[in-house]
Symmetry: C2
Subunit: 301 residues, 2 copies
Amino acid sequence: MIDINREIAALDWQREPLGLYEPIGYTLAAGGKRLRPTLALTASRIFGGNEQEVIPAALALEVFHNFTLLHDDVMDKAQVRRGRPCVHIKWDENTAILSGDQMLIEAYKLLAQLPADRLPEVLRLFNTMATEICEGQQRDVDLAQAASAEIADYMLMIRQKTAVLLATALQIGAYMAGADKAAQQALYEYGIRVGLAFQLQDDYLDCFGDERTFGKAIGGDIREGKKTWMWLQARAKGMPDTQGNVERTLAEYRRLGIDTMAHAEIQRLTDEAQTYLESLPRNEATDTLRRMAEQLVTRMN
Amino acid sequence: MIDINREIAALDWQREPLGLYEPIGYTLAAGGKRLRPTLALTASRIFGGNEQEVIPAALALEVFHNFTLLHDDVMDKAQVRRGRPCVHIKWDENTAILSGDQMLIEAYKLLAQLPADRLPEVLRLFNTMATEICEGQQRDVDLAQAASAEIADYMLMIRQKTAVLLATALQIGAYMAGADKAAQQALYEYGIRVGLAFQLQDDYLDCFGDERTFGKAIGGDIREGKKTWMWLQARAKGMPDTQGNVERTLAEYRRLGIDTMAHAEIQRLTDEAQTYLESLPRNEATDTLRRMAEQLVTRMN
């Protein structure tokens, strides 16, 4: 099996001008779950694909994901990413913008290494995904500024901003392995639901997680006044304006049963995700995806 | 002949979310010389290529160029572009970053429209060019911060930041029309020299142009302490530190004959550019490129 961390470490960023490439190496060396390349490789294994052939696309997905984090951190004025200062803190904003741009280009350079007969379709899938990510980021901004919002607005935002990248990673892996359209689509739909459930679980843990295992202070979303699924549901059920007070908001969530509702919604999405795996070959790789969805519902961080 | 402005105007940016796409439409509607798509189409015509087939690549080059302007303006804290407020002034910095990212993705979406058999090579040429642009931008930053610099550092910077995009536009046009490697390379080399001459002429006009025709105040580069070709040549010839004083610096340039040297260098580069056209078919399109190089040396704005 491919060791994706070794593949990422093998990318060479000791290039001139150092001011452009060092921040890229710094970002990619910070670790992370490597979830997206892992999904692409796992999807390929389901269909007995040649994992080696998928590597450029898997790496492109990881480099692209890290590009989005780099620019998002500038836009959010974040300080820390994966326990280390963000690029725009360690260097400066201009460096984060320019090295981020280069990371996006590097993702496309990796895609250009794919076999010529596979390139057009993978490029098309990748471009569609990249577009949705930018749209999702803009919808996130719009949502923060909107006076009111519907649950559907929030779901579309997290679908584009988070779920589509997981779904596309799976689809690209499946396509590279020669899976037919229906199988590609099944994995895409699995990825969307896992992505949505993943984000809702994040929102849930931000409210009801254990600070020791969650790794950050509880109630951050509430303090920032974020229009999360939980907040929108509570408002729809008549929660008064709690003005970012964490204690009061959490009490309201409990009183209105939002915690139970969120848990049920995450379970529902996870179950739905699993059904999409049923049409696929049963093997070690499909089992990995099945377990991944299960772990999602029970994860505490 | 293709009307490139009509093609650009036909791109649809009335898409949701508006906050992402409106700044892209605003940027592309601001005009400009459309030099890069024009070069790609002209190069294709030299070899009797199907211009219609080149359009996606020509548009990708223009969208990419405007992406670089958008992000450069953020990094330079510029106020005005083509007589209108920059995107980060009219909207905000985050909008300029995100809409810029989307423009870069849109450039790749346009490339993805190319015939599948042409895509791999054009993507490779495009990626190489895009990388050099980012490297050139970083070298520009490094040059500003460096205590000293050589002429060669400056030439490499403007080669990457300005000339490579013109050269690649020509090469892509030639490749699409089926030109052989030698002809592609000749056009690339022509483009590099025209690009270098273009930038040096810009530097020259910034010192010795006529404010009425040049369109901006004379001496901007000197006031900003930019290490231009002229400044580096003057320093190499023993010019004292003039501390950004425009009058004194221009007097030194004249005393040392830098104005004459610059003019001669621009002429030399332009002549060199013309020699690369000699191996190509003689027709209306080659004549256009020949005239373009001539106009460069005499242009006053």
